[in-house]
């Protein structure tokens, strides 16, 4: 009997390429993407299976050293390294986004050293102004053009609306999963959530939704729940895609909310179609995903900027998370050389301080060797918050 729920998530987490390899063997096209800014709805609507490319923390980077400098986003280095080692040989193509310098630069190098049939790079504006949004929509139109050529299919409004509906359902299911961390003790651990979300990102949308439904049902019904620990923590950062990292953070605490790109962030809100589907996707992805790479400024006044108001505009959405999830402290966890998030560190700490919430910044290099020092840092932080 096939595994279901958390067991199935565990299986996919440990062998994320298995299912997409099976699908490819059956004739499906599979396209990899390393960043949550890629509108997956456009792929699904053309019957293409999206696959989230993650790094592999346990794999020493060797091949990528030939083509990337050492002082560089270790996650992107790891992703490219895996590709150069043939770990992504099941992919028909890759879509990358100008979400950060490391991704933009790696995209071009990726394209230079791998010979996949399809490659597309989405340019992304830095601001959220109207003209920027329209430019982003035009970039998505360009992506549709190349996907149609690649797939030999024409994108229909009907299929796109169905794909949008399926992904909106997925967003809702992940949001429901995080609802289960509100009680104390939480019904599901942060470590389990990392595995579930990574599994979901490795499956076609319908299978991911089925998995999420199974997990929700199982978690609500199970008798053995995670224990309440010393503190309830919010994790804020770029991407934490390895359960071992979350497990370290949860040694003596419950991470009840993961505000990162392998946590809640890609699943916030939903795509709302008013008239044009592609524009609706552009609006959602540019405005709703709270990655540090997008320049958000709350005040438009040409002569004055109020720092506290600016912090509120940039991080205000975190306030209700702090209160609703009863957060005791925040771990700001970044991989080294993640510049867009690193620039945010003093400001976001100021914001948490304004709410009376202690926060600590931990940087690691995306290797197993960084886990032990991380444990020490987390323990020290827990000591300070009592």
């Amino acid at each position: 009997m096939a595994a279901k729920g958390l067991l199935r998530a565990e299986e996919v987490y440990h062998d994320p390429t298995r299912r997409v390899r099976e699908l490819r063997a059956k004739g499906k096209k599979v396209i990899g993407y390393p960043c949550v800014y890629v509108p997956l709805e456009l792929l699904a609507a053309l019957d293409i299976v999206p696959y989230r490319i993650c790094g592999e923390m346990r794999e020493p980077v060797t091949e990528a050293d030939r083509v990337l400098p050492a002082s560089f986003c270790p996650i992107m280095r790891s992703c490219l390294d895996c590709s150069l080692k043939g770990r992504h040989d099941f992919l028909d193509g890759t879509i990358t986004v100008h979400a950060s310098d490391p991704q933009e630069k790696t995209a071009r190098i990726w394209q230079s050293y791998t010979r996949l049939p399809y490659f597309h790079f989405i340019d992304m504006p830095g601001t959220t102004r109207t003209e920027a949004l329209e430019y982003f929509a035009s970039q998505l139109d360009g992506m549709v053009t190349t996907l149609e050529t690649f797939s030999g299919k024409k994108l229909s409004a009907d299929r796109l609306n169905k794909a949008i509906e399926a992904y909106n359902q997925q967003r809702l299911l992940v949001q429901s999963l995080f609802e289960l961390t509100k009680p104390s003790p939480p019904l599901v651990s942060g470590t389990e959530i990392v595995k579930v979300i990574k599994a979901v990102m490795s499956l076609p949308v319908d299978e991911g939704n089925q998995l999420l439904n199974e997990v929700l049902e199982e978690v609500k019904a199970r008798k053995e729940k995670p224990q309440a620990k010393r503190a309830r923590l919010l994790l804020w950062g770029s991407t934490t895609d390895d359960a071992a990292v979350m497990s370290i953070l949860e040694s003596n605490a419950n991470v009840v909310f993961a505000e990162d790109c392998a946590g809640y962030r890609p699943y916030r809100g939903k795509v709302i179609v008013a008239t044009d589907e592609v524009m609706a996707l552009a609006i959602h992805y540019l405005l709703e995903i709270t990655c540090a790479r997008t320049f958000v400024q709350s005040t438009a006044t040409p002569t004055k900027k109020d720092y506290q108001q600016d912090l509120q505009g940039r991080y205000g959405y975190l306030k209700s998370i702090i209160s609703d999830w009863k957060i005791d402290g925040v771990i700001l966890l970044l991989v080294r050389y993640c510049d867009p998030f690193a620039f945010e560190v003093p400001a976001v700490k100021d914001y948490f301080a304004s709410l009376g919430i202690p926060a600590t910044y931990i940087e690691y290099d995306y290797t197993e060797g960084s886990l032990a020092p991380m444990r020490t840092r987390v323990e020290a932080f827990l000591e300070t918050i009592g």
Partner: protein
């Protein structure tokens, strides 16, 4: 750390000095402007996009990136870097930004008065900040983070950058122009409100044309450097570039100064005058120089290393005829985009999909006939470093030109060891000699 000796070996072009002096003048003018109640703005290098607007609105502009280099060159960056560390900014962030955070913290500590120890009188408190998405996302995050110290708004200029293949898609270029044009109009409206004055459109038109003409002359000067021996060293390029790159001072005067520079370099070409005593090796430098250790180039010049071309990001766009574009905003937008898009077609034809910043160095090396590439990846800068290992690979693969990779930093001299670079010079010369033979055997003409 420096190379120890101070002997000047590079034969500097005399017409460079008045251009270099415009940097100091611009800081002093900003300080005077603030005393006279005129607005001053902190801006980023924005590649001929926002600068003409500020110029037309008679706003004094200072450039924290340039000032970061000045702090490094003056050997006083350390104090500001330490302050940024203490403020909680991670140490791997851009050296310019960290120096600037330290400076801004100190500025506000002094009630908005420039610190007395700051070189060139320091940067006065700005009316607003002008950042740019171009080239590097660390830069606009930097100006956003300055909100911690400066209670002034930030305007972030967009800078579209599609992929080389994606650029070929229908309407891509025109969408870039549409974004840039609309965005610039909004920016002008913002500036008008900020300074309480309306744009003088005739003046903007004149400035746009002068900007293009200055850059055209600057481009022609660099073309002259293809001569053997090369008449102008990279150090002169870096010293002379700010008035064109940042539109410093009076543009008519700048244009004349660049024409003077052109004349002197042309005269050198005619007379066979070299930028160094004996040109044994011609080198390209990528990307940002170690501003704190520029005397390294004198030591390398003693060995016969002539740096003949460099730093793509600092170079003017190739000339383009935009006289048919009557709207100055659209002309500025198209000209600013020209820096990148002018290379897309060639890059695609040569199948260099790794981006213009890789393609351009293939062009530099083959047209300026370089024997080697000095690549300077920066610990604190991804945008000027990421492509360098690939660049080294592709230069060797396609042109049989070796690269010397010396890691360092633009501001933090603790991260750069010029002695190490010098120790590696001799073996690298052997490599350059070897690959000269390899290239000739392979049919290359240098």
């Amino acid at each position: 750390m420096t190379t120890g000796e101070k002997k000047r070996v590079i034969n500097r072009v005399k017409a460079m000095y008045p251009l270099r002096a415009k940097v100091d003048e611009s800081y002093m003018r900003s300080l005077e402007a603030i005393k006279a109640g005129k607005p001053t703005v902190w801006a980023m290098l924005n590649f001929c996009y926002g600068d003409p607007v500020l110029k037309a609105m008679d706003i004094e502009v200072v450039y924290p990136e340039n000032y970061g280099a000045a702090l490094a060159a003056a050997g006083v960056a350390r104090e500001y870097l330490d302050r940024a560390d203490a403020e909680g900014f991670p140490t791997h962030l851009c050296g310019y930004s960290r120096a600037n955070f330290g400076y801004a913290a100190r500025l506000m500590e002094l009630g908005g008065q420039p610190p007395p120890e700051a070189p060139m009188g320091g940067m006065p408190k700005p009316l607003f900040l002008l950042s740019s998405v171009a080239v590097c996302d660390a830069r606009y995050k930097w100006f956003q983070a300055l909100g911690r110290y400066l209670d002034v708004p930030v305007w972030t200029l967009e800078a579209p950058l599609p992929g080389i293949r994606e650029f070929q898609l229908k309407d891509c270029y025109e969408e870039m122009v549409r974004l840039s044009t609309r965005h610039l109009r909004d920016f002008i409206a913002f500036v008008e409100k900020a300074v309480g004055r309306k744009m003088d459109w005739d003046k903007l038109d004149e400035i746009a044309n002068l900007m293009m003409e200055i850059n055209r002359v600057s481009h022609e000067i660099n073309e002259l450097r293809k001569a053997k021996p090369c008449p102008m060293h990279s150090r002169d390029f870096w010293s002379a570039m700010p008035p064109a790159l940042f539109l410093l001072g009076d543009l008519k005067e700048s244009l004349q100064l660049y024409k003077n520079l052109y004349d002197e370099v042309a005269e050198r070409v005619k007379n066979g005058t070299s930028a160094i005593p004996e040109e044994k090796y011609r080198l390209v430098f990528a990307e940002l120089p170690p501003w704190h250790s520029l005397d390294l180039f004198d030591r390398l010049a003693e060995r016969g290393w002539n740096f003949v071309i460099e730093s793509f990001g600092y170079h003017p766009p190739p000339p383009v005829d935009l006289s048919h574009v009557s709207d100055p905003i659209e002309r500025i937008a198209r000209y600013s985009l020209q820096r990148m898009v002018s290379n897309y077609k060639d890059a695609l034809e040569k199948n260099v999909v790794a981006g213009v910043d890789v393609y351009i160095y293939l062009k530099y090396v083959s047209e300026w006939k370089c024997d080697g590439a000095f690549l300077h990846p920066l610990v604190s800068c991804r945008s000027a470093s990421t492509h360098l290992p690939h660049l080294a690979n592709i230069l060797m693969e396609r042109l049989k030109v070796p690269s010397l990779i010396v890691e360092g930093d633009i501001v933090d001299l603790r991260l750069f060891n010029p002695q190490d670079a010098l120790l590696r010079a001799e073996p690298f010369e052997e490599a350059m000699e070897h690959y000269r033979k390899v290239r000739r055997e392979a049919g290359f003409d240098w």
